[in-house]
């Protein structure tokens, strides 16, 4: 059996911070703390969670835009987190990224043609001006932009069109995997729908795998095959879409879903409003990191870290409640 396209094993990333007035003892922000998942070809895995949960850091570690503190990133059976910059370079062709902000992620001084030609030249995918132009035109067709866009600059386009340019740039080296880091979050509703539809079409046509990082649960539900929910640097639940949205098995997932405002006036809601704020990732709570805000926390949660447990073939959650008899488990 061939290995999954991407495997992330026990990924850890700590950022050093200075504490105190004179930057005394070094503390660390535990941005990602022991995250594991895998992604198959042509599959979409979404990582959801709130600001500071570590979802973007996971994306950056997969892209090797930062060096990990511990754990492994394995692409197609080959470990890439410890490769030298030179050895990594040819592999970058296979993992591309679309960023959130289509205004700051395109060079304002480059024409669209040059933005799209750069990866083609880099990886020697087109030789000669004519071949290059043909590839650029094909890419513009793929993302449904007019061909005369090639001669224009990013500022001449709207946000949604710019995001299409960003997607075309990511597609240029024919990657297997695209990391979409809040790729549609900054867009207006009607434009967002256009880009979401485009991403879904491209995935089907090209067999792309997507690592879709987002805080927008309705978009995630629309796009994804599987979902990983992160809280304070850890995955608290990972499951197939239908399982997560029909029967969440972690209290945080449940609260997150119930907090989303639904565009239906008068719809019945059992909202679970979490108390307080997310604790600091510099000094995360002992035991289960969610216990300070969890409506069901009990003594064991304050001391013992829950591990991800398989609850059904397509669903894993890290919560002590599932060790209890069903009658005492509100999530059963």
């Amino acid at each position: 059996m061939s290995p999954p396209l991407l495997e992330v094993n026990d990924l850890t990333k700590h950022f050093a911070v200075r504490t105190g007035l004179l930057g005394g003892r070094g503390a660390a922000v535990r941005a990602v703390d022991g995250v594991s998942f895998s992604l198959e070809r042509g599959e979409t895995l979404s990582i959801v969670g709130e600001s500071g949960c570590g979802k973007s850091t996971v994306g950056r570690a997969v892209l090797r835009l930062l060096d990990v503190t511990g754990g492994q990133v394995v692409l197609d059976g080959r470990r890439i987190d410890d490769l030298s910059a030179g050895a990594m370079r040819p592999l970058r062709r296979r993992i591309q990224v679309v960023f959130q902000d289509p205004f700051s992620s395109l060079n304002p001084r480059m024409r669209v043609r040059d933005i799209l030609a750069e990866p083609l030249r880099n990886f020697r995918l087109a030789r000669g001006a004519r071949a290059l132009d043909a590839r650029v035109a094909a890419l513009l067709d793929t993302v449904r932009l007019p061909r005369d866009a090639a001669g224009r600059f990013p500022h001449e386009f709207s946000g949604g069109q710019r995001q299409r340019i960003g997607i075309a740039r990511a597609l240029a080296p024919e990657p297997d995997l695209i990391v979409c880091d809040e790729a549609v979050s900054a867009l207006d509703v009607s434009v967002k729908a256009q880009v979401v539809n485009l991403l879904q079409d491209l995935q089907r046509e090209l067999g792309l795998a997507l690592l879709f990082i987002s805080h927008d649960l309705a978009i995630v539900e629309h796009m994804t095959h599987r979902v990983a929910v992160m809280y304070l640097g850890q995955i608290v639940e990972i499951a197939a879409r239908a399982r997560v949205f029909a029967a969440p098995k972690h209290p945080y997932t449940q609260a997150l879903l119930s907090a989303v405002p639904v565009p239906e006036p008068g719809a019945a809601r059992d909202r679970i409003v979490l108390k307080g704020d997310v604790p600091s990732p510099i000094d995360p709570p002992p035991g289960c990191r969610f216990h300070t805000r969890c409506p069901y926390a009990f003594a064991r949660c304050r001391t013992e870290v829950p591990r991800l447990r398989r609850l059904s073939p397509e669903q894993e959650a890290a919560c002590h409640l599932h060790d209890r008899p069903a009658a005492e488990n509100p999530l059963a």
Partner: protein, 329 residues
């Protein structure tokens, strides 16, 4: 008489490319105690409308005309001094970004107390005591200690609570909230929406809520105005708008939003797209502003701008082709 009546408000900006008609003839009213939502996408003029009501548009860059009648007085004709007595007093405002709209070098107590000292003549000690009360009201733990905190010492959700405390300090009759939860995480947004609902019952101020989030609208508004390219294109009670949107733009907008739970009940399909782009506001559009993107547009739409017309009781739309109920016609 309505608390606030806006009649044919126009706010135009002078730009190097010509006159930008950010708000172009918008009329609406707000009754005492009601929550009116103004929705639309970036650049539709919703925030400019809010800023025009409070006259926060600098005269150098733009000019508002029309009538903004608040408790019988036209705010657009008041002297700067009289206007200052209304801002933060009878009309409070909450901005989107709580970090940039709070002063980083003053304690939150000072900032909440400022309007109390200015408008209600409280001394420093009594203003601080009232600030503690306000922090308690908006659910900030340890208000005695937090009143001396600086904005950077508070989380995003806490800062937005402080903004709400500031806006409510002088018991305003009208609160204008411009994207109050957009910058917040969803669980914090849920806290703030709960707080807003709870405070509404206790304080009784009317609210103009400006947002692009149709979910938020459905939860807190009683009436909704939809704006597009500087104009009001639809207005209806909230349930009516979501159940029977009349304007093709509103219909497109509602179809473009994925719904949570759509994969479970089998309603998940391709998202509806609104083709094309918002028209430039610097070119004068003779007909309907939406005609260029509208599936139902005809020559009539391109020639003559449709006026707001009642399509059902309390439900108006500016569209030549929107169906009307017999009773309203």
């Amino acid at each position: 008489m309505a608390l606030l009546e806006v009649e044919c408000l126009r706010t135009h900006f002078r730009t190097p490319d010509g006159v930008n008609r950010a708000v172009d003839g918008v009329s609406f009213s707000v009754e005492a105690g009601e929550t009116l939502a103004i929705v639309g996408e970036s650049g539709c003029g919703k925030s400019v409308t809010a800023n025009s009501i409070l006259r926060l548009i600098p005269a150098k860059v733009g000019r508002s005309t029309g009538v903004v009648r608040f408790e019988g007085r036209n705010l657009l004709e008041l002297s700067p001094r009289a206007m200052r007595q209304i801002r933060g007093n009878a009309i409070g405002m909450i901005f989107q970004e709580p970090m940039t709209s709070l002063n980083p070098v003053l304690t939150v107590g000072r900032q909440i107390g400022e309007s109390l000292r200015l408008h209600q003549g409280l001394d420093r000690r009594r203003a601080e005591a009232r600030a503690v009360e306000m922090l308690t009201l908006v659910g900030i733990p340890e208000p005695q200690r937090r009143v001396r905190a600086y904005p950077h010492q508070l989380s995003g959700g806490m800062r937005q609570r402080v903004m709400i405390a500031m806006a409510l300090a002088c018991n305003p009759k009208l609160l204008i909230a411009d994207e109050p939860t957009t910058a917040l995480d969803v669980t914090i947004q849920a806290q703030i929406l709960d707080l807003t609902r709870d405070l509404k019952h206790r304080v009784g101020a009317a609210i103009i809520l400006i947002t692009h989030d149709l979910g938020v609208v459905a939860e807190v508004a009683s009436r909704v105005i939809v704006m597009y390219a500087g104009r009001k294109i639809e207005e209806a009670p909230v349930a009516e708008l979501f159940r029977r949107p009349r304007h093709p733009y509103t219909q497109g907008l509602l179809g473009a939003v994925p719904r949570l739970g759509s994969s479970l009940d089998g309603t998940r399909g391709r998202l509806a797209e609104i083709p094309g782009l918002v028209p430039s506001l610097t070119t004068r559009i003779a007909g309907c502003v939406f005609a260029g993107r509208c599936p139902r547009a005809t020559d009539l739409c391109r020639a003559i701008a449709p006026a707001m017309a009642a399509k059902a009781p309390g439900h108006g739309a500016a569209c030549h082709h929107a169906p009307a109920e017999a009773a309203a016609a």
